[in-house]
């Protein structure tokens, strides 16, 4: 019966390192607010019953009590300000870019209407240089065609594989409107802002398949902007990654870097607007 009121059980399982800290903060606030709820509702319901209109009983004419006012000003001030300070550390750990631990791997994630794009460094282990001015429909990441490091980069759509127990640093942006990178089980959420790169980090502790949702309204198919994150053991991940490198090499052998370079010669033009856009 009591379980019915335990709303904390509706949390999806937490699998990331700092996630349990965030859940604990939620739980602390949960118990504080439940206590305040019962206190105030108790007072409210008691006074509604006790002081309902009764024949011959007159209300009190008192205008207030300064001591009471003082008490219920000072106590909440300390309680709430203390709570704010108490929760700050978890916030800094999760979001402050100065406190991000040394990443074991870095990956780029781009939001677009209505898909997630992922870029891995490829065979050379280095993410090629990118610049938004090179962006085209065929080169959404804006890879610099003159940078050889970019030629072997692996680009995935809506499915990302990562190893468990590693500090993963995501460089997050968008090529059109604002999206939001939300993985419920990781307790991670960060808006993807066109024109800026955001840093998101996590360390997932459990192998499995997790859903990546867009949490910021991004257009008609916003609800359908779903990605999948496969968290693999290091061996499985390496196996998958080697396969991708091989696929990429095959692909490049069939069609040498030509397409990328072609796209690069016609970057998105700022100076020649096309009339029709609506």
């Amino acid at each position: 019966m009591l379980d019915f009121f335990n709303f904390l059980r509706y949390f999806p399982e937490n699998v990331s390192t700092f996630g349990s800290d965030l859940d604990r903060l939620f739980t602390v606030i949960w118990y504080i607010t439940v206590a305040i709820f019962f206190l105030t509702y108790g007072l409210l319901i008691y006074s509604l019953i006790r002081f309902r209109q009764k024949p011959g009983v007159r209300a009190s004419g008192s205008h207030g009590n300064n001591m009471l006012e003082f008490t219920w000003t000072i106590l909440p001030t300390f309680l709430f300000a203390g709570l704010g300070i108490y929760t700050d550390n978890a916030w800094e750990v999760a979001k402050n870019s100065n406190r991000i631990p040394k990443p074991d791997m870095e990956i780029e994630v781009l939001g677009r209407q209505f898909n997630w794009m992922f870029r891995y460094p490829g065979a050379d282990g280095i993410l090629g240089r990118q610049d938004p001015k090179f962006r085209t429909r065929d080169n959404l990441f804006g890879l610099d065609p003159s940078d050889p490091h970019g030629q072997d980069d692996i680009i995935m759509e809506n499915e990302m594989h990562l190893p468990v127990n590693k500090n993963v640093l995501v460089h997050l942006s968008s090529i059109d409107v604002i999206h939001s990178f939300f993985v419920p089980q990781f307790r991670v959420k960060q808006d993807a802002l066109p024109g800026s790169w955001m840093k998101v980090w996590f360390n997932c502790m459990k192998v499995g398949k997790y859903e990546l949702a867009c949490a910021e309204l991004c257009g008609a198919s916003h609800y359908n902007m779903r990605g999948v994150i496969m968290m693999n053991s290091m061996e499985d991940y390496s196996k998958w990654y080697d396969e991708q490198i091989k696929n990429k090499a095959d692909q490049m052998a069939q069609a040498p870097p030509q397409p990328v370079a072609d796209a690069g010669t016609a970057p998105a033009s700022n100076t020649q607007p096309e009339g029709e856009h609506h």
Binding site: R52, G61, G84, I175, A215, Q272
Partner: protein, 611 residues
């Protein structure tokens, strides 16, 4: 106009306006383009109730789509064009338009004009004891500007490309690259803002300059204090909204780049070649927008708080507990309201260090809110409580405000907000504050002041039924949304079944939808009651609730000019159940009897505004 000439108007002399030298007014000047603050209040009430039903219908269609993503909307689904609802099933694009319209209508065409336009216009001149607003013509424009503004906002209804779909928060670039429906929406909201500012200037001027003899600032009822502080918030905040909307309009229509970064590649609008020069920053819009829109949530609730304080005092037969603390708490909320906007942007990419700052300012705003709740309970404590329909709605305000306030503490903490941001937890939170508190406060205000508005009593029993079913269905609708939010359910998604982790919540979504339908239909109790009572309601006495404030000194159904006697204020607004008096109330306008030992019956000359 000489303000000392308090006009002599009551029902039988409704057409004599010698003191103002008015000629007989034509039908149009009297009922349509009227300068009378009470007529304007009625106009606001009727239009906002109309839009409440429109916005509610949009909400029910949204709910239907979420609960039954593949099923046709019953009754109305097949009436809609196929581009909106193919075979009656709402399309995702139309869904985003509906959620935009629901939010925008409820906030800008219902709640803000309800608490300010309706309560403000009605209450201010009557409660401070004057004949009308300081600027009655401006007042008229503030209502009539709303009509073209609403038509613009909803104008996309007639366009093939549809209505605005960028959410009521209109974040660019999404809103900037959208079509004509969005452009019209931005222009419409710009005008609504103007209407708001016109009203607010008028309220401030009237309250500062037109108070009756003896009505010092600290003898004003809580409703007037609340409206006064709200008006200050509007005049400081709304111009910022206007500026941001103007820039957004330029970005959308003229392709400037205030908020648009370079090299966007969007699926529909831009087609590879950006027509925007770029160099703008989308976050700038969010800062400007929330700098208005956070104070705006107080604009939406503070006047309701004031009305609720008056209702609770009257029906508990008790003075408002800690009157000055209540006034200072509202001032505190108003001030803090301007330095907390960043809590809407914790996950937006704003510097996390700013996040820490905004956590502290945000969490401290719980303090004045707590002061208000404890003082309301203090007012009930020791009272002699009458559970009228108005009182029940006011109590709903207090109890729902507690829940909405407590759920706010979760998202005030940036760390906890990471997970619950943009989930149904937020949806639950602001519906508890805006519907559970603010709108129930307005319902209470309607039940409380209807007798003075129309000279007829509303039917109490229907009023209580309206309260009961609204209260029950409201909680059944919105409380489970907390659980959805804890489960990670995102806002604004048309079809939750796309996600595996949300599938277990689908039965709860269906339950919420049926509760929401019940909530919508409960509102017909209110509408029916209003129409029925206008025709068959009992004639209202002058002071039906035995209240103390000045509006009850006016005749049963006051005409233009309001009062039929000279109004002098002798005491504060809440002299209920004073031990030295036989009667349990002591109206502000009743002169003290000879030899009475009241300390505050001599008007403080310093504060009397020359009238």
């Amino acid at each position: 106009m000489s303000a000392s000439a308090v006009s002599v108007v009551d029902d039988s002399h409704a057409h004599t306006h010698e003191h103002h030298g008015h000629a007989e007014l034509s039908f149009i000047r009297k009922y349509i383009f009227s300068n009378d603050h009470k007529t304007i209040a009625k106009q606001f009430m009727v239009t906002t109730l109309f839009f409440l039903m429109v916005g509610g219908l949009a909400a029910l269609m949204l709910r239907w789509k979420i609960a039954y993503p593949d099923q046709a909307v019953p009754l109305i689904g097949h009436l809609l064009p196929d581009t909106w609802a193919a075979d009656g099933v709402i399309q995702p694009g139309f869904y985003t338009q509906l959620l935009t319209m629901h939010g925008a209508i409820m906030l800008f065409l219902v709640i803000i004009p309800m608490v300010n336009g309706f309560i403000g216009n009605f209450a201010i001149p009557l409660m401070i004891g004057t004949d009308d607003m300081a600027l009655p013509t401006l007042n008229m424009f503030s209502f009539w500007l709303n009509i073209p503004a609403a038509m613009l906002m909803l104008g996309g209804f007639g366009l093939e490309s549809g209505m605005a779909g960028g959410g009521w928060t209109v974040y660019p670039p999404l809103s900037a690259i959208a079509g004509l429906g969005q452009t019209l929406w931005i222009a419409g909201l710009f005008l609504v803002g103007f209407s708001s500012i016109m009203g607010a200037i008028n309220y401030i001027t009237t309250i500062l300059n037109k108070r009756a003899k003896g009505m010092t600032m600290f003898r004003m009822p809580m409703t007037i204090w609340a409206l006064f502080i709200t008006a200050v918030l509007i005049t400081l905040g709304t111009p910022v909204l206007a500026a941001s909307l103007a820039m957004l309009f330029f970005d959308n229509f003229l392709h400037t780049s205030f908020f648009i970064p370079a090299n966007l590649i969007a699926a529909s609008a831009l087609d590879g070649n950006s027509v925007w020069a770029g160099g703008g920053q989308p976050l700038l819009f969010q800062h400007l927008f929330w700098f208005y829109s956070h104070p705006a949530v107080y604009i939406m609730i503070v006047p309701s708080m004031g009305a609720v304080s008056d209702i609770i005092a009257t029906f508990s037969r008790r003075p408002v507990f800690g009157y000055k603390a209540m006034v200072f708490a509202i001032m505190g909320i108003g001030f803090l309201g301007f330095i907390v906007w960043g809590h809407h942007m914790f996950q937006s990419g704003m510097s996390p260090l700013l996040g820490t700052t905004f956590v502290l300012s945000t969490i401290v705003i719980a303090v004045p809110s707590a002061i208000k709740v404890f003082n309301w309970i203090g007012t009930l404590w020791g009272g002699s409580i009458r559970f009228s329909a108005a009182m029940l709605c006011a109590l709903a305000f207090v109890s729902m405000f507690i829940i909405g306030g407590l759920s706010g503490i979760f998202m005030a903490s940036a760390a906890v907000d990471i997970y619950i941001h943009d989930t149904y937890f937020i949806v639950a939170h602001f519906h508890y504050v805006l519907f559970g508190a603010s709108l129930f406060g307005v319902f209470g205000a309607i039940y409380y002041w209807f007798p003075k508005l129309y000279g007829k009593m509303l039917n109490e029993s229907w009023g209580r039924k309206h309260f009961f079913w609204s209260f029950v269905f409201f909680n059944l609708t919105f409380f489970p949304m907390h659980i959805l939010g804890i489960g990670g359910h995102m806002r604004r998604i048309a079809d939750p079944t796309v996600y595996d982790f949300l599938k277990p919540f689908q039965p709860m979504n269906e339950f919420i939808t049926w509760a929401a339908i019940g909530l919508g239909f409960s509102q017909f109790f209110l509408l029916g009651n209003i129409f029925w009572s206008l025709k068959y309601g009992k004639k209202a006495p002058r002071n039906p609730w035995n209240a103390n404030t000045l509006e009850w000194a006016a005749p049963e159904h006051p005409g233009h000019g309001n009062f039929d006697m000279d109004i002098t204020v002798y005491r504060g607004p809440y002299e209920f159940s004073q031990p030295d008096r036989e009667s349990d109330f002591y109206p502000q306008w009743i002169a003290p009897e000879e030899g009475e030992s009241h300390t505050n019956h001599v008007p403080d000359v310093k504060h009397v505004v020359a009238h």
